[in-house]
């Protein structure tokens, strides 16, 4: 009896806390679907509208920003998957001098990431003439220490006997990688891809520095330009734009919630 009451009380407190936690986001969503005059005073019965989204979409080149973000995350993801696989494979399968030292050198990137080295990386980029390009935004992130670490841990668990059996059948280094190591690391590739996509979809400071023209701006930078350009901000428009640019990630999350959480967990434990 007492236990049951406790459970109800705790559950109620939890739900209230969760509701309060989500409140800023929910209110932002609510405002995005209502006329500007309601954003400063909440009324439960106010009429719903889709106008803000249409107006926001038309007042800035969001379709272009979407395309740029897509190109950016594709470049980074493909490069990450290929390059990190190669490095991890070399560390797991081969013995060579300075392997430990080289690995430590790579892991430095976990601590001193490209976000911190914006000053010199910008100078490098302008020296090779790649500022204001999508390639330029992607360049510092193509090889990721996190990805190498994650894949090395996974490749280490691949049984040596499988590798040897493949070699006896005459498979070369690339065949072994493709037919033995990669298939066994599949869940980790999925987990890492999710982390990489959400990181680069969300990245802001570096693209802000590198880009000047709308033709190459990713969504985050485009959103910030839209939200600050006219000083007389219409909050309903800003909220609509904010929601619009993050909607694909939110929808993907709601659909794949369980896998997402499980994969984030897996990525975190390793």
């Amino acid at each position: 009896m007492n236990r049951g009451l406790n459970r109800i009380l705790l559950s109620t407190m939890g739900v209230v806390f969760a509701a309060l936690w989500a409140l800023p986001f929910i209110y932002s969503v609510w405002t995005a679907f209502h006329d500007e005059k309601y954003s400063a005073n909440f009324q439960l019965g106010a009429p719903w509208t889709f106008e803000n989204f249409i107006e926001a979409w038309q007042s800035a080149p969001f379709s272009l920003y979407f395309a740029n973000t897509m190109i950016l995350i594709t470049i980074v993801l493909v490069a990450n998957l290929i390059l990190c696989t190669l490095v991890a494979y070399a560390f797991v399968r081969y013995k060579f001098r300075w392997a430990g030292f080289l690995f430590a050198l790579i892991m430095v990137q976990l601590l001193i990431s490209p976000e911190i080295l914006i000053v010199e990386n910008y100078l490098t980029l302008s020296r090779v003439g790649l500022t204001d390009t999508i390639i330029g935004i992607a360049l510092p992130y193509l090889t990721s220490a996190f990805g190498i670490f994650l894949l090395r841990q996974t490749f280490l668990t691949v049984p040596k006997s499988l590798d040897e059996a493949a070699q006896i059948e005459g498979a070369g280094a690339w065949r072994v990688l493709w037919n033995v190591y990669v298939p066994l690391a599949w869940p980790v590739y999925l987990a890492y891809s999710l982390v990489s996509i959400s990181f680069h979809w969300n990245n802001f400071l570096w693209p802000l520095i590198v880009t000047n023209s709308p033709e190459v701006r990713p969504l985050t930078v485009g959103l910030s330009v839209f939200a600050t350009v006219d000083s007389g901000v219409e909050w309903s428009l800003v909220n609509a734009a904010t929601l619009m640019t993050t909607a694909p990630l939110i929808i993907a999350f709601i659909i794949f919630q369980r896998q997402f959480v499980a994969n984030f967990m897996r990525a975190g434990i390793k």
Partner: protein, 291 residues
């Protein structure tokens, strides 16, 4: 087993990927150190060697002193709060109470959003006279507060935004750890008559320690490298009260175009992170002896 690495394979597997990494991690760090001993070039004269001039400027920079204090408060305030909240959230979500799906969604949602979207949402929330914060204060008959426009509330308001964004991610890690706590351990403790609180404190908490270390390291690095919300919400103001170190590097370099001082500040940042890494390594090693 053939595990000699041929030159051809080494070039493809190691040299190409690693040179990209070195070019944007190690090279810029060293280049920042070199450039910090030179002054800025201009159209009229090239950059010349200036010795420790930049570092003297660093020592005399009152703004920097304020920013280092801000960064310390920011890290010391957000990390324990985020960790405490995320443990609470993980316990709630992991319990078999009704409504956990909704709770998990609510707690994890902010983590999915880009920091720039989070900044917009909270900018609106805090907006004086308009935002929900003001509307709620009004309901209770209190005057509206310009949270981001006052020197005594700006930093705290930013810290809250950071905690809101990060706690959900940390919750996931704790959730994973909680689910791997063996139930027979908890059952044994309960059989001995331990209360739920005792079980949590004496059985579960020690098992969460590796997660806490992992989360704390991550949170610390994030506290240094994520300043998107500062750029969007306050630009470090008012009167420098919400500026953080990386934001200052950004402002000095890309708004004031002072690349030499920007490089000097980068050296300071890398040095601080290196120092923290050494301290962490030392603390963890000492802890490991007791386990």
């Amino acid at each position: 087993m053939n595990n000699r690495l041929s030159i051809r394979l080494a070039v493809i597997m190691l040299v190409i990927p690693c040179s990209l990494l070195v070019a944007f991690t190690h090279y810029p760090a060293i280049q920042a150190l070199i450039n910090s001993f030179w002054n800025n070039s201009s159209s009229r004269r090239p950059s010349r060697f200036s010795g420790i001039e930049n570092y003297q400027a660093l020592m005399e920079d009152d703004r920097l002193a304020q920013i280092l204090i801000n960064s310390t408060i920011y890290a010391l305030g957000t990390i324990p709060l985020a960790i405490g909240l995320s443990i609470g959230m993980a316990l709630l979500v992991n319990s078999r109470l009704p409504g956990t799906t909704l709770m998990r969604l609510s707690f994890f949602m902010p983590t999915m959003l880009p920091m720039i979207a989070v900044a917009n949402i909270w900018l609106f929330f805090y907006a004086p006279g308009i935002g929900l914060a003001s509307q709620i204060l009004e309901v209770f008959g209190m005057p509206s507060i310009n949270f981001l426009g006052r020197t005594d509330t700006a930093l705290a308001s930013m810290m809250f935004v950071a905690v809101w964004k990060e706690a959900g991610l940390f919750m996931i890690f704790y959730l994973a750890a909680l689910q791997s706590v063996p139930t027979n351990l908890k059952d044994a403790a309960k059989l001995e008559g331990a209360s739920a609180l005792r079980v949590f404190w004496d059985v579960v908490m020690p098992l969460l320690r590796p997660t806490t270390i992992f989360v704390a390291v991550n949170a610390l690095i994030n506290a240094f490298r994520l300043v998107d919300h500062v750029i969007v919400m306050t630009e470090g103001g008012p009167n420098n009260s919400s500026a953080l170190l990386l934001y200052y590097i950004y402002e000095v370099t890309f708004r004031q175009r002072d690349f030499a001082y920007g490089a000097t500040l980068t050296v300071l940042m890398v040095g601080l992170l290196g120092l923290l890494a050494i301290v962490q390594y030392w603390v963890l090693n000492r802890k490991a002896h007791y386990q």
